[in-house]
């Protein structure tokens, strides 16, 4: 909980600094606070937040999913194809894409649980395979939505007007739904309880009668399903996808957001709220760089540096606490 407050505080500080640094003396405006910028920021947060929750699902079991970006690419290319070339109606195309994504997760789960392969290897190969297949499938052509799926596009580009100038973008509503559902699953259901138990100590969970294998598979399915949902949002947002770069590196954004939000890579630890805050900090930083430097060349470097500092700070605090505990024990 303290950690969440820390991230929230950091978000606040970065937001204030950005507001100040992006001040335009000529017009007297604060570009960061413009409703255009805020809406955009929230829209991106909605989409990347879904991916971070996807990554967290697998990380709490002690695994990792590196294929998220490529699954985004798959759903981003297949959705326009189904809507356009196949002429499927929206209400059929979206579930079909989600089903395909879930099937990818099922396949990962089978390889990890059934064949006992390392999650890192399985999903790293997934990362390469799905992108390669998609590039071949589309012939490296841009897959455009055109006029198809007009209704669906609201999910990505629509907004709920709050005031005259500002509306809540639809993706942030999608993220809210996903986050609430995930929070309920993690905190309130038997499934979530078992997921965290096996993430910390798989043997102990198994000896307590927890169906560890099935649960792990379900975690991979949830992850890919959410990654697929994220992919749909991205393609609906920009209207087209190109297999060679659509969703590139998104798995790293997703994992970084989750880890920054306090999901421990060793498993069994994490809160959905933390994941959302972690993703928010990532998007905020990228926004800051765009506004302040007017280019995104430094983006990766700054994001990397922030995560590194977070990890180092975390480790130092942990050691300090352990050191104090030993000292206390000594004086008794």
């Amino acid at each position: 909980m303290n950690k969440l407050l820390g991230i929230a505080g950091l978000i606040l500080v970065v937001a204030l600094v950005t507001t100040w640094l992006s001040y335009d003396p000529a017009t007297g405006n604060f570009p960061f606070l413009s409703s255009y910028n805020l809406e955009n920021l929230l829209r991106r947060l909605g989409m990347f937040g879904v991916l971070s929750i996807a990554a967290a699902f697998v990380i709490v079991t002690g695994g990792i999913d590196l294929s998220i970006g490529s699954v985004v690419c798959v759903s981003g290319c297949v959705l326009p194809w189904l809507l356009g070339s196949c002429g499927l109606p929206s209400w059929l195309a979206l579930p079909a894409v989600l089903l395909l994504s879930a099937a990818i997760g099922l396949w990962h789960g089978f390889l990890v649980v059934g064949l006992r392969l390392q999650p890192f290897v399985v999903t790293l190969c997934g990362l390469l395979i799905y992108r390669g297949l998609m590039r071949n499938f589309t012939g490296d052509q841009t897959m455009g939505l055109g006029d198809a799926g007009e209704g669906l596009r609201w999910l990505a580009t629509g907004k709920i007007q709050i005031t005259d100038g500002f509306g809540l973008p639809a993706p942030i509503c999608v993220l809210t739904l996903v986050a609430v559902a995930t929070g309920l699953i993690w905190q309130r259901t038997v499934w979530g309880r078992h997921l965290f138990a096996l993430g910390r100590n798989e043997e102990a969970a198994r000896f307590a009668g927890v169906a560890t294998g099935r649960l792990t598979v379900m975690a991979y399915v949830s992850c890919s399903l959410l990654a697929g949902l994220g992919g749909c949002l991205f393609v609906l947002d920009v209207n087209s996808a190109q297999a060679s770069n659509f969703g590139n590196f998104y798995e790293l954004y997703a994992i970084a957001g989750a880890v920054l939000g306090g999901v421990a890579l060793r498993g069994g630890e994490g809160l959905v709220l933390g994941v959302v805050l972690g993703a928010a900090l990532m998007q905020l930083l990228s926004n800051t760089i765009n506004l302040v430097a007017n280019s995104n060349q430094l983006e990766f470097a700054v994001v990397g540096a922030v995560i590194l500092m977070g990890a180092a700070f975390d480790e130092l605090v942990r050691r300090w606490v352990a050191f104090r505990a030993v000292r206390r024990k000594k004086t008794i």
Binding site: R188, A197, R200, A205, F207, G268, K330, I332
Partner: protein, 492 residues
């Protein structure tokens, strides 16, 4: 008869862990199971709890033969094992851990309030005064032990198997545990209680079953229980008159002053070992012996204290400097700490000394060292290029010894040097250590095998709770005296 095992045998690759062992427990009875380390107690207990299946023999519950194929199966039949290694998932809350795998639910949702109420009921009955929402990771070892018991009772266990439950408890917690056990007895629950502490057996046990070298070594009834009778049950065999070369101690090679380890921050260790002297550290598991050796070698940083090698003070917490000062450690866990199992015999043997030949891999040196050690220690392998992991335990241990001897140490530390080593290799290791002592090496070793301690050591230091509680030399060095010191009784 509630639970019994008859004629149970179990072997693991290369070891016959249990040989025709039987044990019985009645309703409302506390049966103590005693034996030295490696006597087969844990294997027997794991068979009763469904973690292992016996090769031959049968387990009977209520007089009917049962096939326990998993711990959860045993638990459903009412047999619960309270085992420290199988610790809980410590990211859960107390009530989460109580109900793990058997959550109360409505549809997919957890009934947290109901579970907390039942948890509170059981924990308060056991005197475990914690909120059900407390994280398991913040409990003390004694509280964890109580939580495990509460969990077993919650699942309606009729047989409770407790593996050294008091090893990490304070005296107050021990007293409370004893009260709980007495209460369980009255309820008709059978308790199988494994312990090293003889005083606990005198307080608690209705019957004592002894195991030695994987066989039943006898049984005592409550009326017959005495310290001497128990020690006899554990140790049993008469000491055969093995010949030990008298070592001639020279000047002090290892001087340890005021070393405190993290395991026992309040206990100070002082000791010294002379050149040509063989000193053993005896004691029970968890007495802080391995932690001491690890601190001396520098793989763990001691809290404070000083170590001198042949008069020069040794920087602490730096194994690399320890090696160049002439210290070597044969670690407790051969497979993970002693060897690189996926590398060859020659690569393992040359590892600590290879850097002395400069930057480039000196393959000639590597094979020379390997050949010399293989000759000297009688390592049986098809070639020096065989993978270390494919050798027997005894040959692996000889490799660990050989690689350290190649560094030409002044002080050799060994942690359980013959664990999992067959009889032949064991004798060769003993002979080699004896020779080395003759040549002026200072040897300090930890061993749980009393026979080995008495055979090799000139002096025996006995540790308990992180402190050296006594020193035995000459005629005082008897198995009985060691056990008495290690379990906390006075030397008679």
């Amino acid at each position: 008869m509630l639970l019994s095992a008859h004629g149970v045998s179990k072997s693991f690759p290369g070891v016959l862990a249990l040989d025709d062992v039987s044990i019985e427990a009645r309703c409302g009875e506390v049966v103590a199971l005693i034996g030295e380390n490696g006597a087969g107690k844990s294997t027997l207990m794991k068979i009763l709890a469904g973690l292992h299946r016996p090769d031959t023999g049968s387990v009977l519950l209520d007089g009917e033969q049962v096939d326990l194929h998993s711990p959860i199966d045993a638990l459903h039949r009412g047999i619960a094992l309270i085992h420290q290694e199988l610790s809980l998932c410590d990211n859960l809350t107390v009530s989460g851990a109580m109900f793990l795998g058997a959550e109360l639910r409505r549809g997919p949702f957890l009934l947290e309030r109901e579970m907390a109420a039942i948890t509170r009921h059981w924990t308060s009955r056991l005197g475990l005064d914690v909120d059900p929402q407390t994280k398991v990771s913040s409990l003390r070892p004694g509280q964890l032990q109580m939580l495990e018991i509460a969990r077993a009772l919650r699942s309606q266990a009729r047989v409770l198997i407790m593996d050294e439950p008091t090893s990490s408890l304070t005296q107050v917690e021990v007293d409370r545990l004893f009260l709980v056990v007495q209460e369980l007895k009255l309820k008709g629950i059978a308790v199988i209680y494994i312990t090293h502490r003889l005083s606990e057996i005198e307080t608690l046990a209705d019957r004592v079953v002894g195991l030695r070298d994987g066989r039943n070594s006898g049984e005592l009834h409550r009326a017959d229980v005495s310290h001497d009778a128990l020690v006899h049950l554990m140790v049993g065999r008469e000491l055969s008159g093995k010949i030990r070369r008298p070592h001639q101690p020279g000047e002090v090679a290892l001087e340890v002053h005021g070393v405190r380890t993290r395991a026992y921050p309040n206990a100070e260790v002082n000791l010294s070992v002379r050149r040509g002297e063989v000193v053993a550290i005896a004691g029970l598991l968890g007495a802080g012996r391995s932690e001491l050796l690890r601190a001396l070698f520098g793989v763990d940083m001691p809290l404070d204290g000083s170590v001198q090698i042949a008069g020069d003070s040794l920087p602490l917490g730096d194994p690399r400097k320890a090696v160049s000062a002439g210290v070597a450690l044969l670690p407790e866990d051969r497979k993970s700490e002693g060897l690189l199992l996926s590398m060859t015999v020659a690569e393992n043997l040359s590892l600590p000394t290879l850097h002395r030949c400069g930057w480039w891999l000196d393959r000639k040196y590597q094979s020379e060292v390997a050949e010399a050690s293989i000759q000297e220690l009688g390592i049986t392998c098809s070639s020096a290029d065989q993978l270390a992991g494919s050798l027997s335990g005894g040959n692996q241990q000889k490799i660990v010894l050989g690689k350290w001897l190649a560094t030409n140490p002044k002080v050799l530390l060994l942690d359980e040097p013959t664990r999992g080593v067959d009889v032949g290799a064991r004798a060769e290791i003993y002979r080699r250590l004896d020779d080395l002592a003759q040549d002026g090496l200072a040897v300090l070793f930890v061993s749980s095998e009393l026979e080995e301690v008495l055979l090799l050591a000139d002096r025996v230091l006995v540790m308990r709770d992180g402190e050296i509680r006594g020193q035995l030399s000459g005629d005082e060095r008897t198995e009985k005296n060691i056990m008495l010191l290690a379990t906390g009784a006075e030397v008679s």
